[in-house]
């Protein structure tokens, strides 16, 4: 029997850049003579943004590392090579939807079935994070010759030949802020608390790590501020009039979870 949805948890907040942020775009799309290493931009507004995929990928890999020992997924057990034979990329993915339901990583981030196993669609959706109105305004005024961004010379030294390889790196300046939104689908009551706690952990881990490229050189330090967490039960989603329980921090989780109780006749 298929599981119905019990509701959604919507988490909104801001990502603040404590250092310059560089999320790279592909160079193929760039005009000739442009900067060596450009950042991703919304093709319509030209504003830099943080792709939902980058954010989600980072959350998954950090959480995977943090939980690897207790989940028994350290090393190469329960891992799959999603790269090529020459460029192996090992990540943890459960082989069936049944396993994924028991796995705190795949339950949140999804898994693709293997050997006939069903896919488990991610419970979490991470939207692209766009610059806040305030930041757009502030950044429109910066005089760097670039739109909303700044550039920096990086001198990469070739370890073998010691030849200097100076290049320009584009980055979103320190102080810029992005609005982010996470949507978590509540599918049962047994796992919602653990999932949300792990989500909170993943968010914390990002602030201890970094976003985007060149993190080892200090780029991409961010602070993530959660401003609103809404629990929206399915009945309210259906009626078009959102009646939601709002909390300010994931520490008040239990009051949020009660919103979904009684909505699950079979669960």
């Amino acid at each position: 029997m298929d599981k119905n949805i019990l509701g959604k948890v919507q988490i909104n907040g801001k990502i603040k850049c404590l250092t310059g942020l560089h999320i790279g775009a592909s160079k193929e799309n760039m005009e000739i003579g442009a900067i060596d290493s450009p950042v991703v931009r919304d093709p319509v507004t030209r504003q830099p943004y943080i792709p939902g995929s980058s954010l989600k990928g980072k959350m998954r890999s950090l959480l995977e590392r943090a939980l690897s020992v207790e989940l028994g997924i350290a090393g190469t057990t329960k891992r799959r090579n999603i790269g090529t034979r020459n460029n192996e990329i090992w990540i943890h993915v459960c082989d069936s939807a049944e396993d994924a339901l028991q796995c705190p990583i795949c339950r949140i981030f999804g898994s693709t079935g293997h050997n006939g196993g069903k896919n488990f669609p991610a419970r979490l959706a991470v939207r692209d994070a766009y610059l806040t109105g305030d930041s757009v305004e502030k950044l429109s005024d910066i005089d760097t010759g670039l739109q909303y961004t700044e550039w920096k010379f990086e001198n990469a030294i070739d370890r073998v030949t010691s030849a200097a390889n100076p290049r320009q790196l584009e980055r979103v300046p320190r102080g810029a802020e992005f609005d982010f939104e996470l949507i978590y689908n509540v599918e049962d009551l047994h796992t919602v608390e653990e999932d949300l706690k792990n989500l909170a952990l993943a968010i914390d881990l990002i602030t201890l790590d970094s976003l985007g490229g060149h993190g080892s050189r200090g780029y991409g330090k961010v602070d993530i501020v959660i401003e609103c967490i809404k629990g929206i039960p399915v009945e309210s989603l259906k009626s078009d009039t959102i009646i939601a329980v709002e909390i300010k921090s994931l520490k008040e989780l239990s009051s949020l979870i009660t919103t979904f109780r009684g909505k699950s006749s079979g669960a």
């Binding site: 989600k56 192996e88 669609p121």
Partner: protein
């Protein structure tokens, strides 16, 4: 039939492509069969499963509503596929303007109405149509995003590419829905609203394809004329799969048409299966027939699906929404 126009405004990028095929390959429109599957999945997620099954049962016998594929609107202009029949255009015009005519794929609705009424086109008509079509191509931007996957142990990265469409401000997709059973008007609107929360198309895990219903209103003026003109030719505005009793006469009835084959994987509720559906052929949007068309739901359940994987039959939507609508 009561016909409504609904407009969708997307909250971010969209990814409309054939699943399992090239991720870079994306289109800006959504075909009617994809919309139907998305609506049915929404019902099975948000309502009880038997509600989706009841509705499918209704659709097999006599659809309570039919709808078009989703097409582009931009700055108050609505676009429809150019009808493939051009027999009314003089040979002279075709010789001189052949290239331009070939490049016309989308017509703004007043031009569609002109084409529909089948009076000969002047050079000026054609350049007008071209000019408006430029607003079509200007409604969205296509983007190929490089995507990186990080190895958990070595931190090595691997890159692949994925295509997205960004609609500009004042642009998005719209569709027409005709109700033979008025009792379904509110229901349809409600399901569409829920679909907007989840999103349509691929890459939903990154928030792609979520939308707001910009408007949902009975069609007025131009669309009314398009749907109720007196013409002996019918342009198909959805994908169409002929019903059993239509097949005999099909070649004779179709004046100009194209075919598309659709395949892919099966999704049931929130679960995507590693199970291929039967591929099925459709007559495409813009095809033209001499007489009214009906269509059907096509059963695409694979032969002998593995037990416990699939507990229900799988259908693709193939009802024809034509302009004009048959009386």
């Amino acid at each position: 039939m009561e016909v409504y126009l609904f407009k969708l405004r997307f909250r971010g990028p969209v990814h409309f492509g054939d699943t399992g095929i090239d991720l870079e390959n994306v289109q800006e429109t959504v075909s009617s069969d994809t919309l139907f599957s998305a609506l049915m999945n929404t019902i099975s997620i948000y309502y009880e499963r038997n509600e989706a099954e009841d509705l499918i049962e209704k659709f097999i016998n006599n659809p309570p509503f039919i709808f078009t594929s989703l097409f582009v609107y931009h700055k108050g202009l609505y676009f429809l596929p150019k009808p493939m029949d051009d027999t009314f255009i003089s040979e002279d015009t075709k010789r001189l303007k052949g290239k331009e005519l070939k490049k016309l794929k989308w017509l703004e609705i007043s031009d569609f109405l002109n084409w529909h009424s089948q009076s000969n086109l002047t050079d000026k008509d054609i350049s007008n149509m071209q000019q408006k079509q430029s607003l079509y191509t200007d409604a969205f931007v296509r983007e190929i995003r490089p995507r990186v996957v990080l190895d958990r142990i070595t931190q090595q990265s691997s890159i692949y590419h994925c295509g997205y469409i960004y609609f500009k401000k004042n642009a998005g997709l719209y569709g027409l829905v005709a109700f033979s059973d008025k009792g379904f008007i509110e229901k349809f609107k409600n399901i569409l609203y829920l679909l907007g929360q989840t999103g349509i198309g691929g890459e939903r895990t990154y928030g792609c394809g979520t939308f707001k219903i910009e408007s949902f209103e009975p069609v007025d003026s131009t669309f009314n004329m398009i749907l109720h003109t007196n013409t002996d030719k019918y342009t198909i505005l959805s994908l169409y799969h002929p019903a059993q009793d239509e097949r005999q006469n099909l070649r004779n009835n179709l004046l100009s048409y194209d075919i598309i084959r659709k395949k892919g994987w099966i999704t049931t509720g929130r679960k995507a299966l590693t199970l291929k559906r039967k591929s099925v052929g459709f007559i495409t949007e813009g095809s033209v027939s001499k007489g009214p068309l009906k269509g059907c739901l096509v059963d695409i359940t694979p032969d002998n699906p593995p037990p416990d994987t699939l507990s229900h039959r799988v259908y693709r939507y193939g009802y024809a929404f034509t302009a004009p609508l048959p009386r």
